[in-house]
């Protein structure tokens, strides 16, 4: 098989899995749908390995059929296999496989078990399509499909009003991003005459001068798409709400894969962004702003999953910063390590939430250290990697991004400094979670678990406090699995290992495996030669270590040594705390600026325009004329409709007669 042959296989497996599971939902017994879906993704992973074996410095393109072609609008259903897409396929299918396995246990008792796996396979297919696309149209299709899959999985427990609301919010934000991409695609097609990446990149070199207005506009529109998907400012508000979905979904889609698509996109579009440095700079600034903003919010949020969600937004900010300062290898390196440790953190959180019978509130957790030793260890590993603790995976990848930013010099140094500041906050909030969940006095649920009983609290919606109807999915009678099931451990173990040692592919001066592997994709980059020296990188790693350890230590002091201090701090800085706890009031702002005017326009349209203008003025006017005619018509004993038709006919007849006469 050729590289592209394997590429098609990568796509075919999840499609097959999805079709088997969705058409066989009634006949497939027990947990079989989950295993079929997992096997499908494993097939994709193997095929990705096949691509890895075959891929070389060339970009291989293969087309299945012409998707749509009219005039200069020509798009094939085609895939592109190069080191970047192979790398993405490996990360996506590998992490997805582990999360599928985890889900087999986690969702085991759910009523929508088969539906869940059909959606999950559909998601993986869409994500792989996105990264394998070789032209803008296929990219947009994959782009929208992952948005749809995300919607379906966020509102998976559709009996919860909060879940369906969050689903709509995510979907609409994603569509805004799609539209951005569509308009960008038009601008590029219009100027370069092509929809293929290769054609656009080649055409852009010829057509555009540096910072050409149209090109900058196109790049900014691409960023709208990227930021909507990757939950960057100001399009981030959907991601925390997306935590309404089942926890493995949060791990897979809203941490490890889909939300990093924006990073992939910027990296893929690097020839355009390098020609439009203004857009790249804006991207870097927004990425930095986002990473700081989200880190501050993560300090105060008390919902365990939402802390991790804000952490995701923040970490993607780092990646965006990386790919925007032309540190493509570093940005993608962080994308990979983040996928490992963030998926791991979510899986650990899922385990804890299971033990808490669905409660996600940090304030009610504590002391799970002994009750769930496996989760404790793996979650801590994840937190260490997130905090960039020395020699964990996140340590190397995060610092590499910041080193590159410093190397670029000028204003980028400021961005890097902010990055270091947020790194301190990151270490702090990462261990705020660890200490609050696993340390301190065991809560009743933890006690019970130590004696082997899984808590069975009254199932309720953590957001609204409504009680859930248990026979319809959430949370399901067998939902409370809490690390008792081997597939969960089988998924968390390898991820913990990867989170710990995943950095080996990018240790400065020792191993540059990843960087070297991705080189062919980015060899055209004008910054290919910009590279911090090994000495600088190690010096900066030293700074990173200090910051990380300082953050962890401070969390230790506040949450373990002097537990009472948090309340006092909160009272002391009530204004700051409120501001952060309201997530900088973004939701309120959007509600006032977009949602209310829109619904207002709706009811204005319905009440005033429809009733008074269309029905009253136009229709009323028409019927008024008819009525006037009718009173005349009634005199000659005809129904007004007939009279009306007759009158019109006579009128038209008169006009016709006039023209016939006039023409002769």
């Amino acid at each position: 098989l050729s590289a592209t042959g394997y590429g098609w296989l990568v796509l075919a497996f999840p499609v097959a899995g999805m079709l088997i599971v969705s058409f066989g939902w009634r006949v497939l017994p027990g947990r079989l749908p989950g295993w079929i879906a997992s096997a499908a993704i494993f097939g994709s992973f193997l095929a990705s390995l096949g691509m890895l074996d075959k891929v070389d410095a060339e970009a291989h393109v293969d087309s299945a059929w012409t998707y749509a072609a009219t005039g200069d609008f020509v798009a094939d259903l085609s895939i592109l296999v190069d080191p970047l897409s192979v790398f993405m396929c490996l990360v996506v299918s590998g992490v997805s496989f582990l999360i599928h396995v985890y889900s087999v246990a986690y969702m085991g008792g759910d009523r929508g078990y088969a539906r869940y796996f059909a959606y999950l396979n559909y998601f993986v297919f869409s994500m792989l399509l996105l990264v394998l696309a070789s032209n803008f149209l296929v990219l947009i299709v994959g782009w929208a499909f992952v948005g749809a899959a995300s919607y379906l999985l966020i509102s998976f427990w559709y009996r919860r009003s909060t879940a369906t609301y969050a689903g709509i919010k995510a979907f609409v934000m994603n569509v805004i991003g799609d539209v951005g991409l569509v308009v960008a695609t038009f601008l590029l097609l219009n100027e370069t005459g092509s929809l293929d990446y290769a054609g656009v990149f080649a055409g852009a070199e010829e057509t555009f001068t540096e910072n050409d207005g149209t090109l900058v506009a196109a790049c900014l529109l691409i960023l709208v798409g990227a930021f909507a998907k990757s939950a960057q400012l100001p399009l981030h508000t959907w991601l925390p709400d997306a935590m309404e979905g089942p926890t493995p979904v949060s791990a897979l889609i809203h941490a490890a894969t889909m939300v990093t698509a924006g990073v992939y996109l910027i990296a893929r579009m690097f020839p355009l962004f390098e020609l439009a440095p203004t857009a790249a700079d804006i991207s870097a600034i927004i990425g930095t702003a986002t990473l700081l903003f989200a880190a501050t919010v993560a300090l105060v949020v008390t919902d365990l999953k939402r802390v991790i969600a804000y952490s995701t937004i923040s970490q993607i900010g780092y990646m965006v910063l990386g790919v925007s300062v032309a540190a493509y290898g570093a940005g993608l390196f962080h994308l990979m390590t983040h996928a490992f440790f963030k998926a791991l953190l979510f899986m650990g959180a899922g385990s804890v939430i299971g033990a808490m019978a669905g409660t996600q509130d940090l304030d009610r957790m504590g002391g799970f250290r002994r009750a769930m030793p496996f989760t404790f260890i793996t979650f801590t590993i994840g937190a260490l990697a997130l905090a960039a603790f020395p020699f964990t995976s996140g340590f190397f990848s995060k610092d590499e991004i910041l080193s590159y930013a410093i190397e670029r010099g000028g204003g980028f140094v400021v961005l890097a400094v902010i990055g270091y500041l947020a790194a301190f906050l990151t270490a702090f909030y990462a261990f705020r979670m660890v200490f609050r969940v696993f340390f301190g006095e065991p809560v009743p649920e933890a006690h019970e678990l130590e004696h082997g009983h899984v808590a069975h609290g009254e199932p309720m919606n953590p957001m609204t406090g409504e009680s859930e109807d248990t026979d319809v999915g959430f949370p399901g009678p067998e939902h409370h699995v809490a690390e008792r099931s081997w597939p969960m451990k089988a998924a968390m173990g390898p991820l913990a290992l990867l989170a710990l040692i995943g950095g080996v592919v990018g240790v400065p001066a020792l191993t540059d495996t990843l960087e070297h592997f991705l080189e062919p994709t980015f060899e055209e980059s004008r910054y290919a030669e910009v590279h911090p020296s090994a000495g600088t990188e190690w010096a900066e790693l030293g700074i990173g270590s200090v910051i990380s350890i300082a953050g962890i230590s401070m969390a230790y002091v506040i949450f373990v040594r002097r537990r009472g201090i948090t309340l006092r701090l909160r009272d002391r800085f009530a204004a700051v705390h409120d501001f952060l706890a309201h997530k900088w009031y973004f939701d309120e702002l959007y509600d006032a600026v977009f949602v209310r005017p829109f619904t207002g326009a709706g009811s204005f349209g319905r009440r005033v325009i429809e009733t008074d203008f269309v029905q009253g003025f136009i229709v009323g006017g028409a019927t008024g004329v008819v009525r006037a005619g009718t009173s005349f018509a009634r005199a000659i004993q005809t129904g007004y409709l007939r009279a009306y038709a007759l009158l019109l006919l006579l009128g038209v007849g008169a006009i016709a007669l006039y023209f016939l006469l006039a023409s002769s």
Binding site: T70, V141, A144, F145, V183, R606, V619, L648, A656
Partner: protein, 496 residues
């Protein structure tokens, strides 16, 4: 291969007449057989159609009323090929559902249904302006009877409005057509209504202006576009579900089809003159329809207003006066029709689950015991909101690209409609299928009959999403030809 379009055209009517002489219960089967035969014919047409060839194929051309220069002229090209397919498909699905539903006076109902198909096919196939108008007005009659006779609620008021609006439009168009025929007759020449002939002849630019306007009024009423949609809410609410499915899916396309078949090629200057205004009206319809669709509580009316928005997109595509825009419009006419028919059938099923109520506030949670229904509805929802990967998206993106080409601002405003469509369609899906069961809703799986009608249509929608070029390559030549002259005029004006 010889294919006689007259057979296709009058087959439904013939079966309707045959049905009139059959026993009471049998009429429906005759009509259903007729629609199936038309569908078979349509499939043969698509298979046999020569994609690359310009001009008409399978032409029938006979004298009809020679004194008035009216000919019986039928033909198929890329513009109407898939409109015929859409008509055939829609009628099969709707007749199938109707055939298994009890009606009063079934013979009359099915006769009207059959007559409706003949009328619509006639309007699509006609290559003579007078013949087009005959069929265009003939469409009104069966639908008037079906809504008035078998509708619900305020059906009398609804039909009155429907008829007044459409009739007023039709008569304006009739006047315009006569004027066009008369004024284009060269000195000493004979009057002709043949479209091919009219394209050759010319009328002065000033005359074109008002003739185009009159045609547009008729077509905008039919489409409908703001502010000529006053008949829509009541008609949609009162109509039987199969009638409204056909009205929304097929009849709405006849008007916009008329632009491409008649207005643009025959009166390019006039079309260019009103380009800006029509695009503004269409863009406003997109926004207005979307906002209204969002604020409706009745499921049918959501789809009704969404149709206004969708037809707005199609008109934007046509009056972009650009190859891509027109290509997208032609494709979107097919896509919208193919999606709307099953959408209405699903709404019928939903209403049946809620004791006939269609109010969103009373619905909800239907997916619970009806996963198949929910899955079908989901695919239709995604297609309606033109999600990338659906054929509707390809249509919409071509329309937008056509509009961007030199009406960038309008194009951008129109793309807001894409976002709004996502909002109102997902809202409908959520409010019917998701959340807890509403007070009136009972979750039950889709019945076999509706499944048999909806599932194949959904399969077609999915297949077109996979391979949209199947349609695009067949329509391209004719579409380009249809906008060619008007585009030329627009370019000239732009240069001046």
């Amino acid at each position: 291969m010889t294919i006689h379009l007259s057979i296709v055209l009058f087959l439904p009517l013939a079966t309707g007449l045959i049905g009139a002489f059959l026993p009471r219960g049998m009429a429906r089967w005759a009509v259903l057989a007729g629609t199936l035969a038309v569908l078979a014919y349509a499939i043969v047409l698509v298979a046999d159609f020569e994609s690359g060839a310009g001009g008409l194929q399978y032409v029938t051309d006979d004298e009809w009323i020679s004194e008035l220069g009216i000919r019986y002229q039928l033909g198929i090209d890329g513009l109407n090929l898939f409109m015929v397919v859409l008509t055939a498909v829609a009628w099969v699905a709707c007749t199938l559902v109707a055939a298994f539903t009890e009606h009063d006076r079934p013979k009359l109902f099915f006769f009207n249904l059959a007559l409706g198909e003949t009328a619509v096919l006639g309007a699509f196939l006609a290559q003579d302006l007078a013949l087009f108008i005959v069929f265009f007005d003939l469409m009104l009659i069966p639908f008037y009877f079906m809504i008035g006779g078998w509708g619900t609620g305020e059906r009398v008021r609804a039909t009155t409005k429907f008829v007044i609006y459409t009739l007023a439009g039709s008569l304006l168009m009739l006047a315009a057509a006569i004027a066009l025929g008369v004024l284009s007759t060269p000195d000493g020449g004979e009057i002709s209504f043949s479209l091919a002939e009219l394209e050759e002849r010319s009328v002065s630019e000033g005359t074109q202006h008002w003739i185009v306007l009159l045609f547009a009024l008729a077509f905008f009423v039919k489409a409908p576009l703001f502010p000529l949609h006053g008949w829509v809410p009541e008609t949609y609410r009162a109509s039987p579900i199969v009638t409204i499915a056909l009205l929304s899916a097929v009849l709405s396309k006849v008007g916009v089809y008329g632009f491409l078949r008649i207005v643009l090629p025959v009166m390019p200057e006039g079309s260019q003159h009103w380009q800006e205004l029509f695009i503004v009206v269409a863009v406003f319809s997109i926004l207005y329809g979307s906002v209204l669709a969002f604020s409706q509580d009745n499921v049918r009316l959501v789809v009704a207003y969404s149709s206004i928005a969708q037809l707005g997109f199609i008109v934007v595509g046509i009056f972009a006066l650009d190859d891509k825009g027109a290509q997208g419009a032609v494709f979107q006419m097919l896509n919208h029709g193919l999606v709307v028919v099953p959408l209405f059938l699903v709404i019928g099923v939903i209403a049946a689950r809620a004791g006939g109520r269609e109010s969103l506030s009373e619905l909800g949670g239907l997916a619970f015991r009806a996963p198949v229904l929910a899955a079908l509805f989901l695919i239709l929802t995604f297609a309606t909101l033109a999600m990338p990967g659906s054929a509707n998206f390809v249509g919409e993106i071509l329309i937008l690209f056509g509009a961007f080409e030199d009406k960038l601002v309008y194009g951008i405003v129109a793309s807001v409609g894409v976002v709004l469509a996502a909002v109102y369609m997902i809202r409908v899906f959520q409010r019917t299928m998701h959340n807890r069961e509403g007070p009136a809703a009972e979750s039950r799986e889709i019945d076999g009959l509706n499944l048999a009608a909806v599932a194949p249509l959904v399969a077609v929608v999915v297949a077109l999403g996979l391979y949209p070029n199947f349609v695009v390559q067949r329509t391209e030549t004719s579409t380009t030809a249809a906008v060619d002259e008007a585009r030329g005029v627009a370019e000239e004006v732009a240069e001046r």
